[in-house]
Symmetry: C2
């Protein structure tokens, strides 16, 4: 069942198909399929329009007055909405700010400070470089030992009375394997430690239930499945139960209790706001706001259902066309364990990726031998995916 | 000589007058004068146009390919140009990234790490809150003592063999007093310490000569005199002589030697690039690029000359109209010691500021009693300033 008719049938039944028109069209006719929305989501038309409006009407006309009128609250306002729509987070626990790296540094430092006397950090060797680098360098900076594990499943074996924090990605950036956020968090808590979840590859793609699952800290980017734009601000979540006690080291004026009070000493703002440092990046947040609004309209459950269907479709096509050519499937075949992309391995993946990109199949190469096929349910269709897979078959054959 | 004719003469002789047309017009007719460009510079028309272009053509059409084609280099490319046009910095020492707070945290940590065994930081009590907060909290974090001084002139009295770093603003955010960057840096170096200069209120307003003056580290924002937009990315300078040895604690993938190598351990990129952490904020950088380009066209020396003339004009008008009403001048009267704004003190400044803003005179209130009159040479004219001062006289009279 990998026929063009089947693709057409899947497209016809796709409840989210019309959302594609909400995006700026790809005018480059050489593009067969954009399958890298998990690296950089496409721009919404609304973002382009709102940017124009914010520049002309808010920045250009209201000028400095826009800060008090609306901009100052944006980190929390957009954060709350993101929490509601995508993270399962009640208001007051999520802010939009900085980059993922900076957010991760802040919450990692915050987590360690909440567990004095514990001298170990845990992360896995397959984690994204930034996460590994930060665990390593924060560990070195604070005199903690890093316990490296091979994957999230190994947490139970190493977490113990010395564990300060466990830092994991919810969805593996290479394999798309989904970690058991609830179960791992429970185990870490039983041992007295805290969890820091990197949601970069899950936010906007699969439902997350941070409050219900008892998560402590989380961070993520907005430029993948939220389509917020290249280098758009990241987000950071701190569970309300830590608000009284948590702190972070980058103590700028925006995180102070009275930002314009110009106080003699830093007094942290109550709640999540103390996680802020510098002036909020207003233009960058426009894309976040629009991306979250579109997701609210589509609904994360429908997005997830389509991501699963697209993933299955890629696996079916791969099994029929590509496995015979030497490809192997690196992503979990079980739907419930697979995130929003499918990774195929091939011995010649690096060269082949360049050929594919030159031929309009915009996938992503991930070392050492992965071709990552990103599936963005709001912009990707089944016929399009089939055309791309056909092209891969031709070019790899 | 505070007549309308004199204002008209000054405007007629103003070589930079035409630059005003390069900005998005203020459509709000209630605005008498925008004198808060030192909090938030106005948007350039070019920024509005380029944002549209970047969204549609780079992000929307080239999609992920834009990262390799052009975006990855932006932090250094714009940084180099900013260094050339405004900072007196040779290429390879300046990057555009993060917020000022995050940049300051990074360079402060870097500076301290370069001076092991020294256990004091120096800053002044009049410094901007973020700077004071960060000196305080980084000091506490690393077990250093903070030596508080009353102003930059007191550095010589306290800097000594225990001084790791001296953190100062080049232009005081309240009084606009210019610190002796070259002289203070020399003194600190004689005592074996390092300098961290906050250029927020000087960049794009007065020429800075970081290389010639031997500065070690500097940071600054781009949303004031560079007109880059609300919360636009900040910049960070590290003198080349520190490139071999310096490090910073937020070790994200963009600061690694091989960003896409996904290496096992963090190996810092050579040179200034190791100061990067997360993914560069592309949309935010558009405004920086355009702001720097316009400054290059105008020339920082001409901008400075006009800022001085505007400052003198404000002082003349204040002396004639406002001093008799109870105002005092809080900024240096000597041109060479005064930055790009003039601050007037008034016992009732807080209430009066609100009245002024409600009446279209967009100034800035700074506690406890300062009314800050920002002078942006690329957008501000002499007749406009006169009208604003006249309005202040009426409303305070």
């Amino acid at each position: 069942m990998t026929t063009p008719e089947e693709a057409a049938r899947l497209d016809a039944e796709d409840e989210l198909a019309a959302f594609r028109d909400r995006f700026v069209p790809i005018t480059d006719e050489s593009v067969v399929a954009y399958l890298d929305g998990n690296s950089l989501g496409r721009p919404l038309r609304a973002t382009a329009d709102r940017l124009r409006e914010v520049v002309a009407e808010q920045w250009g006309a209201r000028l400095i007055r826009s800060w008090e009128e609306r901009w100052l609250e944006l980190p929390e306002r957009i954060g709350d909405e993101l929490g509601r729509v995508a993270l399962g987070a009640a208001p007051g626990q999520t802010i939009v700010a900085d980059s993922t790296s900076v957010c991760l540094y802040k919450v990692l430092r915050a987590a360690v400070a909440l567990r004095p006397g514990r001298d170990e950090l845990v992360t896995d060797t397959a984690n994204f470089p930034t996460d590994r680098f930060l665990v390593d360098s924060v560990g070195a900076e604070l005199g903690l030992t890093v316990r490296w594990i091979e994957g999230p499943d190994d947490v139970a074996a190493v977490a113990g009375p010395r564990t300060a924090a466990v830092v994991l990605s919810h969805v593996d950036y290479r394999s798309a394997a989904i970690a058991d956020l609830a179960g791992i968090t429970r185990v870490v808590h039983e041992r007295g430690g805290l969890t820091v979840w990197d949601l970069c590859h899950s936010v906007g793609s699969i439902p997350v239930a941070l409050d219900a699952d008892g998560a402590d800290f989380a961070v993520g980017c907005t430029y993948k499945f939220l389509n917020a734009g290249p280098g758009a601000p990241a987000f950071l979540y701190v569970n309300a139960r830590h608000h009284e006690a948590f702190g972070q080291p980058i103590t700028g004026w925006m995180g102070a209790a009275d930002t314009f009070g110009m106080a003699e000493r830093y007094v942290p703002a109550p709640g999540i706001r103390r996680a802020l440092s510098g002036t909020p990046p207003v233009l960058g947040m426009v894309g976040v706001q629009e991306g979250v609004a579109l997701l609210a309209e589509a609904g994360i459950e429908r997005v997830r259902a389509k991501a699963v269907a697209l993933g299955r479709w890629v696996l079916d096509l791969a099994d029929e066309w590509l496995v015979p050519l030497g490809f192997t499937v690196a992503s979990p075949r079980e739907d419930a364990r697979r995130g929003g992309h499918v990774t195929l391995r091939h011995p010649d993946a690096e060269r082949l990726s360049r050929v594919l990109i030159d031929n309009g199949v915009l996938i992503d190469f991930r070392r050492p031998d992965g071709i990552r096929i990103g599936l963005s349910p709001l912009t990707t269709g089944f016929t399009e995916v089939r055309a791309a897979m056909e092209r891969i078959r031709e070019l790899a054959g």
